[in-house]
């Protein structure tokens, strides 16, 4: 038996740990929650943009196609001394027909909605990424930091198995028996990339700020608070005066640096993310930077594993004891595996408990024993059903297929 030199063993262990962190398998729940939140925010962003679509994307606007191409050249040099160029992803490149541009805008907004719902997720998330990148390349002159978050996040959603959880695809697949009712496990690398990119965001912004003398001398936050173009809601005067300005300026740097580094250290993760939420909450309240804080903080979900997100929801559900209901199945029946998986998927807080019954029909009772209509109780407590449940006859059809004879 040969022994490994000490350094080699430690190196191998580190490599294995890194490999496990980046490419191990886990629950896609966090990715699914991130998809829902980001898809909704992107849709809202399109809603805000739609009011001035003519101004920003039509040939009659401030930035017709030729001018957008001058601001951001639609091709990139291959380099290495050659004259070859390659096109950027931009399905609007050279398009001067406003109807086509509007159609792309509307379809991309629709793709955002479908991505949020998790319906046809693979196609809708790819369409969303292509649409967002194209619109950003079409008119880059109006982009701000929040748009960069949107573009990068949409690209990650397109390459990730983002419809594997918290999606209509998953629920419909379970209902129709097209997906396995077993818990899904996916490789974590897309989610790890989102987390890494979030940390990179904070690392490079801290680094860039540290190159500015106002951040170094602690007076940086004196200025944005005095720019009327950014005013939103009022804050107490002392917040924008010294010594608070020193505290908020250096505090911003400390929080942002922590979000790039300490956030990966699990015992501190919650505190670091909470400080980030407070920082962005203050920015959102006091400054007019639409959706930016929501977009950035939605990335924080990627620092949690899917199992942690699911466990958090269950813990919250346990505390909502008064909302718990007990559904008793018809006598001599049990839920089919398909129904178990479906009901489990739509009820992340685990507020509904299914028990064997003694009656010929389904009955439900609250935690205090009072009776309650079955499907209304289930639907209200199961966020996953809030879209499907409105479909006429949905619960009736589900009820008919959800149980099978119980084996004695």
């Amino acid at each position: 038996m040969t022994s490994e030199p000490n350094g080699t063993g430690a190196l191998r262990e580190t490599a294995q740990a890194l490999d496990k962190y980046w490419f191990g398998f886990g629950s896609p729940t966090a990715l699914g929650v991130f998809r829902m939140v980001m898809g909704t925010l992107v849709f809202l962003n399109f809603h805000l943009l739609s009011y001035d679509w003519n101004t920003w994307f039509s040939e009659r606007g401030f930035v017709p196609n030729w001018l957008g191409a001058r601001f951001l050249w639609p091709r990139v040099d291959v380099g290495f001394g050659s004259n070859w160029t390659l096109p950027r992803i931009d399905i609007l490149s050279g398009v001067t027909n406003d109807r086509i541009s509007l159609l792309v805008f509307v379809l991309t907004a629709l793709a955002a909605l479908l991505t949020a719902l998790g319906l046809w997720t693979r196609v809708s998330s790819v369409a969303l990424a292509i649409g967002v990148v194209s619109l950003h390349h079409r008119n880059a002159a109006i982009l701000h930091g929040g748009d960069t978050v949107i573009r990068v996040a949409c690209l990650y959603l397109a390459i990730a198995p983002s419809g594997a959880a918290c999606s209509l695809d998953r629920l419909l697949g379970l209902l129709h028996g097209k997906v396995s009712s077993a818990p899904v496990l996916v490789s974590m690398w897309p989610q790890r990339l989102i987390a890494y990119n979030t940390a990179l965001l904070y690392l490079t912004t801290t680094w860039a700020k540290w190159g500015g003398h106002l951040w170094q001398n602690g007076t940086a936050n004196w200025y944005p608070a005095r720019l009327p173009e950014f005013f939103r809601f009022p804050v107490p005067q002392f917040v924008n005066e010294f010594p608070m300005v020193y505290f908020t300026s250096y505090g911003t740097l400390a929080v942002e640096f922590s979000l790039a580094t300490l956030v990966f250290f699990r015992p501190l993760r919650g505190y670091v993310l909470l400080s980030g939420l407070l920082l962005h909450g203050y920015i959102e309240y006091s400054m007019n930077i639409p959706l930016f804080s929501y977009l950035v903080t939605s990335l924080y979900i990627s620092f949690y594993d899917g199992e942690e997100v699911a466990a958090w929801a269950e813990r919250r559900g346990l505390k909502l004891r008064k909302l718990h209901v007990y559904v008793r199945l018809p006598k001599g029946t049990r839920l089919t595996p398909k129904a178990v998986a479906f009901l489990d998927s739509i009820d992340p807080f685990k507020l509904v408990h299914y028990l064997p019954g003694d009656e010929v029909t389904w009955i439900a009772s609250r935690h205090d024993g009072t009776s309650i209509p079955v499907w209304s109780a289930v639907a209200k407590r199961s966020p996953g059903s809030w879209i499907l449940g409105w479909y006429p006859g949905f619960w009736k059809k589900f009820q008919a297929n959800a149980v099978e004879p119980a084996e004695n």
Partner: protein, 207 residues
Amino acid sequence: MPTIEPHYKRQRVSIWVKLFVLFHIIAITSWAMPNPPSSVESGKMSPAGSQWVPYWNKKYLKTFPPLTDYLMITGFWQYWDMFAPDPAQSDTWGDAQVVFRDGSVKHYQYPRMFLLPIHLKHVKERYRKYFERANSDDYNYLWPQFALRIASQFDDPENPPVSVKLYRHWITIAPAGQPQPQEYNTYMYYQYVVDQKQLAQMRETNK
């Protein structure tokens, strides 16, 4: 209750995916890293201490075509320089004067966030961002179209606009302890003689 085995989307991650992830991490990290100070970048000063990292990155990685092309083409390019290296220290807004063929003049107020009600501030914020660029000398090629669009909003075939004067107004925030300026500076940064042919084209497309 029987235990249900988890369902793996795929059993293992291919080496190509791992190589892609590594390449992607290098590309975005290199691109997002701040540039060295301009004095170092221009060669007037040698990099010192931690400046070597951005200097080396700019020289060898950030300009390496496979990395930059990948980011530029796919849309993964990214900068995170909000309020950096220093936050903006001046408040700027714009307006214009539109002169008509009969010599009359109308004022155009480009959307100014400070004057807008709360519910419109979010909707119109893109105007502020665009003006940040459209009033800058670095982007003076944006000015003619900017003025033409304003002219088209005042278009009257009987008495069309003949020129548009673009103004910027700004105030520079003084450091703490110094008296804050109260009055905005005003400067006409561009006068556009309206291209009547282009205006007529816009008139047609607006119908």
